[in-house]
Amino acid sequence: MELALEPFAYNYMVKAIWVSALVGGVCAFLSAYLMLKGWSLMGDALAHSIVPGVVLSYALALPFAIGAFFAGMLAALSMAIVKQRTRLREDAVIGLIFTAFFAAGLLMVSINPTAVSIQAIIFGNILAISDQDINQVVIISVVCLIVLCVKWKDLMAVFFDENHARSIGLRVTALKVLFFTLLSAACVAALQTVGAILVIAMVVTPGATAYLLTDKFDRLIVIAVLLGSVTSGVGAYASFFLDANPGGLIVTLQTLIFLSVFLFAPKYGFFKRRAAANG
């Protein structure tokens, strides 16, 4: 028992656990939408594209969120321009731009390694995160959560049937921009906890898991958010004992849950479906 409570004796562990849980919840909320539209890889693209912005902010001693925001916008803009001006398909454009941005980021850290380590960017550093950075992550996450709680129905209407949403007077374009802004903000926050490579899991896996468990969108959100924050909190906590990278642990946990749901879900699980198919 004493052993189990040991992580809570360390201030940095307590912080890591609840900040991870918060970020995990926000990312999971967004994952409920993202995976429905076939936009899952956008999360990956965004997380990689913001890296040069983060590096530059550290080099200039600015809040990392500012750099990340501009890099994300620049990446989105470049994607739009390249897509408009060439006949390339969207996936090629995304692949091209986000790797270009990521490479630029890696190049910048390797040339100027004082500001922030490659390690921290690729794998996250939630256990060693500074108070200043924690503040940014918390502010970003809380703002995202509030906006999502207010606008989740409007976003659902837009994702479900854009034409109808427009015909009842919703501002579809503004809501889509809002969604992608929230997504980039959440990616910035998740970058700090699990690192650039694993952000994609945070904004896909919880939603995908919940999708197999319910047919009701509000319930899907609740399940996804619970999964996201519990796995993130537990992952950070368990990393203390295993002396492991929290990002890796969090995503492994999420994947294990997905696997068991995939197999045993009451309606859409593998075994249930097979039983149904065999009559």
């Binding site: 034409n163 109808h164 427009r166 999708y211 009701k216």
Partner: protein, 286 residues
């Protein structure tokens, strides 16, 4: 009652493509109006202009005497999408979909009031889908899927219902029950505007018809407007066309002939003199 006024409406897309030009028409409530034309004739552009998604480059659309934007705010126009446009795997129940029709009536948190729940229940009863409230939408049959979206339009409460190709992918029996539903909705003083290239269903379904191919070729009651010569204008040579003249059919002096026009769906059958101005019968797929 006149509800939609199209005044010299023209739409040219930014790439220079002219989608519509010079469309003048007045549409009344209490009717079902078919919007007929080939693919790319501007049917969907006209829909978009009525729903305010594209702004006419020239001319004006007004709905119940108001600008389109204002009419939309008052929930006057509701839209029933094509079956292929909907993601049937989306995790929503039937009642959730219909409730989305009420969003325009709710506050900014979209919290449903008692009146909203009542409207959803009434709309579902109206289309005979009350028993399916708690089903995920993908579990429904083709006709039921259509009914859910019609219920959403009813819950929204508008006087204009736009239907985009309502009969693709439904069998003939389902089509007939949907037609009966649409007829009864039109009788309650609504305008049902249907975009379709399914010619065979028009005569027994629509009161009025608009034939378009960039410009409005003809507009009026089905009996006088949906004629072979007008259809030939609208469809050019792209329809399969069979004419059985009197001599093929019988030996007497009757000069009437049977004309069958078809693309890939239900055939249109015209019967009468001079290739048939008068529609006496519609075809079936049997």
């Amino acid at each position: 009652m006149n509800i939609i006024e199209l005044n010299n409406v023209g739409v040219t897309y930014p790439n220079g493509q002219v989608a519509l030009e010079g469309v003048n028409a007045t549409l009344r409530t209490g009717t079902i109006c078919g919007l007929v034309g080939v693919n790319g004739a501007g049917k969907s552009t006209l829909f978009k202009a009525i729903m305010g998604f594209v702004k006419p480059t020239v001319g004006k659309v007004s709905i119940a005497g108001q600008e389109v934007r204002q009419a939309l705010k008052k929930n006057l126009v509701s839209y029933v999408p094509q079956t292929e446009e909907v993601d049937w795997n989306f995790p929503v129940l039937v009642e959730d979909v219909v409730m989305m029709g009420r969003y325009g009536h709710m506050g900014f948190m979209r919290r449903p009031a008692r009146a909203d729940h009542q409207a959803v229940d009434n709309a579902l009863e109206r289309v005979d889908m009350g028993a399916y409230k708690k089903r995920q939408i993908g579990e429904l049959s083709g006709g039921q899927r259509k009914r859910v979206f019609v219920a959403r339009a009813l819950a929204q409460g508008g006087q204009i219902i736009l239907l985009d190709e309502p009969f693709t992918g439904v069998d003939i029996k389902t089509e007939e029950s949907l037609v009966a539903l649409f007829r009864s909705l039109a009788r309650e003083d609504r305008l049902i505007l249907v975009s379709t290239h399914n010619l065979g269903s028009v005569p027994n379904f629509c009161d009025d018809v608009m034939l378009i191919n960039q410009s409005l070729l003809a507009h009026g009651p089905v009996e006088t407007t949906f004629t072979q010569s007008n259809l030939a204008k609208a469809f050019g040579g792209i329809l399969r066309h069979h004419q059985l003249v009197g001599a093929d059919l019988h030996d007497d002096e009757d000069r009437r002939s049977v004309t069958v026009l078809t693309d890939d769906e239900r055939p249109l059958v015209l019967y009468g003199e001079e290739g048939g101005q008068k529609i006496t019968k519609h075809g079936t797929e049997e």
